[in-house]
């Protein structure tokens, strides 16, 4: 049994959080998803170095780690923009006009879900029901859930992001 643990890809302190998750789970292969969650939480996305490090540490084939990272919608392999906007496209939100919101965003900023504006300011994502259907249509702006939206209100918020900082 090889007892030397692979070294993290860099000096970055965030790798300690990742190691922490793996240690808590006894470096068991079944900690793969938990660990990828920690990677994404810490770095914002999961890159190849992270996948290699995690798969080597948990002794899981890289192909399997890659397969898992791409299977679940929640994981992203691309860096995200400065800000993120998640538009809910669940049934209740759809009925109440989520598509009009996405269309307006596309017209104004030229991005569809999964894309980031060229200046790297805003990433647009979509979600299958955020569980706040009572407030449909709903979106999440940098982690803050906002309900009862319409296209103009969403555009206004995104304009602030693109204009400012």
């Amino acid at each position: 049994m090889n007892l030397t643990k692979p070294a993290p890809p860099s000096e970055d302190k965030r790798w300690r959080l990742v190691e922490g998750t793996m240690r808590r789970n006894g470096y068991e292969p079944h900690a793969l998803i938990e660990t990828l969650h920690t990677v994404q939480e810490s770095f914002g996305y999961i890159d190849e170095d992270a996948l290699k490090f995690v798969s080597a540490s948990l002794q899981v084939p890289l192909a399997r780690a890659y397969g898992v990272a791409t299977f679940y919608h929640f994981f992203t392999l691309k860096p995200q923009g400065e800000h993120t906007c998640v538009v809910c496209t669940g049934t209740a939100c759809y009925i109440k006009g989520a598509n009009a919101i996405l269309e307006a965003i596309k017209n104004e900023f030229g991005i569809t879900p999964g894309e980031t504006t060229d200046d790297g300011k805003v990433s647009l994502l979509s979600a299958r029901c955020l569980g706040s259907c009572g407030l449909a249509p709903v979106a999440v702006f940098d982690g803050e859930i906002v309900g009862n939206l319409d296209a103009p209100r969403v555009i206004e918020r995104l304009r602030r992001w693109v204009g400012n900082d």
Binding site: H30, I33, R64, I95, R128, S132, C133
Partner: protein, 562 residues
Amino acid sequence: MTNEELNAIAKAEQESKERFEHEVCVCTAAGCLSAGGDKVKDALTGEIARQGKDKKCSVKGVGCLGLCAKGPLVAVESHGKKDKLYEGVTLEDVPAIVQTLEATETKGAAAAGLERSMDEPFFASQVKVVLENMGKIDPEHIEDYIAVGGYQTLYKALTEMSPTDVIGEVTKSGLRGRGGGGYPTGLKWSTVAKANGGATKYVICNADEGDPGAFMDRSVLEGDPHRVIEGMAIAAYAIGAHQGFIYVRAEYPLAIKTLKNAIRQAEKMGLLGKNICGTTFSFELHLRLGAGAFVTGEETALIASVEGRRGMPRPRPPYPAERGLWDCPTLINNVETFANIPAVIREGGVWFAAIGTEKSKGTKVFALAGSIVNTGLIEVPMGTRLRDIIFDIGGGIPEGRRYKAVQTGGPSGGCIPEQFLNMPVDYESLQQVGSIMGSGGMIVMDETSCMVDVARYFMEFCMSESCGKCTPCRVGTAQMYDILCKITEGHATLEDMDMLIELSDLVKNTSLCGLGQSAPNPVLSTLRYFKDEYMAHIVDKTCPAGVCKICSPAKEPVEVKS
């Protein structure tokens, strides 16, 4: 933790509560939180202190009060009795509400405009079993749960009942799984209990809640997490498991935070972990986060995901009851199923079986959304008429529009038209009209919704959520989606319709898991009740609801008959 200790905590909590004349409960569940519930709570605390009433009034955050669309909601309990509910509370309303507290009988003028009468059908027609503590207890304090009798049933099960007794009670209750399938819970428990003798066993709580439009499980986890933990611990005792997992979707950060806190508190009090309540029974509970794949809610896929693999279904049998997590016998139940257990054990199976209909016992929590006045969370006895749910409790359709259909069961379900409004809502009746109970999402649609577009929406959902493992589902849903797109764009022929029906049949009967097997349901049910809308799109090239952007003139010569 002994029974005396539990009682002592309950008594101490009760006494500290009685020191206050008024208890102000602010909803801080995700819905109201996004409307500023936490800020209202802080403002109320500050204002009460400023007006020098902090000796008489306490403030606490509670789980969902039900009327989520009208948040932030504030409920006031005076002298131990719930008596006022304010909706849409803003920071400016806070002083007036605090004033009203002391003018015991007369209402504060400004705050009165926000007041909802508790006699409305929305409140009066509900029967709360699963939601009995919702909006009453602070989910962050285990003592609050213990004060309303929490963990007493676990104690009772461990000290006074054998595992067989517990299963007997669950069987007697007639409780059926609330995750969608409606499988008898007692039968499932006894199968796992009997599975290969001394083997390691697991309990899993399915909190993936993938159906769009459903938020019952989220609300229960956020508002009364200990109830689910207690239900799981009782289940573990009954089937002989010592380890359990709650698989909760990553899209629910507040539920995750609440659960983590609740598990830690229960461990500290010896209600989870080794030798629970001083008995020989031990039960460890872990949290697992989903990562956003609808199909992972399917039980075999969920187990794969807990094992750290891709969440793809596998053929059953063997069922998880025989070979589940790491090939060990595994009990997997939905959040609401577990949340029913404390009530079943406390009041007895016979009591539970007296609620509901002959084959569908107990109550059901529904999430009302879409075109309905009272959007939110409700609980009614099984067998309640659809009309009563939508028009009395739900308050009907807003803006004087007309009811068109209610969609139940999410992507596996169907649409129920007006002619069935008088039908009782239970597993069998819903199935008879071509829909299903599902997990309890109800999305109400009025004449501004196009039923063909709705079918297309669900097909898009199933197509992109298909895991791709089997061909009929992977390819079939894509073909069906293409046809539905053609219809909504006005390019379809009647032959396309025939193809759509043929594909529905094929995908339904040859897919491996429930996703593919039920993917055609929204299409079949809209075809059954709203065929005229399909015809209008195909033959007349119009969308009666005005939703679809029919590209006219049609690109192909499709004039079939007029």
